[in-house]
Amino acid sequence: MPSMSTAIRPRTEEAVSARTLSSSIGYGVLYVVLAATAVLQLLPLLWLLLFSLKNNQEIFNLSPFALPKTLHWSNYSTVWEQGSIGRYFFNSLWITVVSVVLTILLANFVTFAMTRMKWKLSGIVLGLFMIGMMIPVHSTLIPLFSLFKKVHLTDSQLSIVLSYIAFNLPLTIMILMGFYMALPKEVEEASIMDGCSVNRMFFRIILPMTASVSVTAAIINMIYNWNEFIFVNTFLSDDSKKTLTVGIQNFVGQYTTNWGAIGATLMISILPILVIFFLLSNRIVEGIAAGSVKG
């Protein structure tokens, strides 16, 4: 970096104080903008909360942030009583967790093999994975249903888990790839010099180093899986096997829709993901610190 060396010059007292003054004004403006944006991003949650406490009329006629005359907490009890929310919730949870863990693990394997190991077909295989992102979901429904029928997986939650993994793998690999490619070569060289096996190196050194990006990819995967409903609707029939997003559709009617209850369902379904998100996203920062790069 040539420009860096020229930048070194002795600083006078005044220059420093002028710089702090202008930078503190700059920081002030920056904070105002940042805070305003934060408020803007928080509004949807507030809106959703209010939405879930209104009836249909109020939802359509009141301003979105106006308080309803009476708070319709009954929307929540309606949701609780009518939809089998508890079961949906449990299904959503385990399907999401299993799919995310497997996707992240498999994607790390593949990305490692493609970016760090040397083999002839790696380019082609990478291409195969990338093309996997390009097919529109609705083209896959009919073929996939026949496929699952042939292997007797219709109405099985396994079909959902497998689909989630397969459809999220390309995206996850793409996200991981950018990071893997930036990893210094010295890491492997050093560990191989030490007589480390590839497996050991992958699990002990590489995987921890990519923790921050793996967590990032996991969050994205989690959100996608948690909110997905087309596959669930198409491949599952048994109500007891379905997930939370189907609970939302329980309130969409032939001629009328119970929007308040949908709001309540959305609210219930967003809470766990909010909590997990807040917990996991700390790991993004910690990720690199936990890695084995020292100095």
Binding site: M1, M134, I220
Partner: protein
Amino acid sequence: MNTVMSNKRIIALYVLPSLFLILAIIYVPIVLTGYYGLMNWNGIGKPSYIGLANYKTLMHDSVFWHSTFHSLLFALLSTLCLILYLAVALVLSGKIRGANLLRKIYLIPMLLSSVAIAQLWLKVYHPTNGILNGLLEKLGFHHTPEWLADPHIVLYAIFIPILWQFAGFYILIYYAALKNIPASLVEAAKIDGANALQVALRIKLPLISEVIKVTIVLAVVGSLKYFDLIYVMTDGGPNQASEVMASYMYHKAFREFDFGYGSAIGFFLLIICLVATWVIRRLTATKDTIQYS
């Protein structure tokens, strides 16, 4: 070194399970989509082979070209928005008090499902009692736009929520990438007297260039096959003014029972994505990958 890192058994062990899954669950549909694209098939009963007739119709289908144009426009706009997301991520990853809380708050919209986002923005755009027109009327505008009913505006009106919806996704990726840069490199540059902007442009951006390339591909491919919000907010209307490739495919295959034609659109969409990816790869190709030194 080389022998260890090209151990065939390990490569197979690492790649084959995923590859098999992809081939079964994604490539079977891709191949079948290509196959159905050559058929006259309503999705029920026996398909009949008609060669490239669907594709010939496609070439003269003005609605299809409109929707392709709309999709490409979305792809372009989404790519431009990446700059905005990157700037936010740069600010957040810097040493800012409360950054930790702020960045979490910024990502909240991402957690909402498309159903919720669509409902929220329908309320924003409502012609008579929406937030936006309410605001405009307070500012003294009398002829407020009919955001989702006006064919000239609808496409852009729908793009704003999409931009907003995906902000969290890209900011999250950039943020993680920026946090992955060893602090020592940034510190060294600062000791050398570089200011924040210089550090960002000269140190940080080159180091995450691979991630940026990846996000460009993701943004373009994601936009080209985008469906969710459009389906809920306008269903491609009015008068197909906001129709995109994926929604047009859906309408043909599932509403009009023309599964053969729908599949042809789906296959064409795949090819456009491939071409776009190839172009991006060529445009962003660098001689050697930048690594931490």
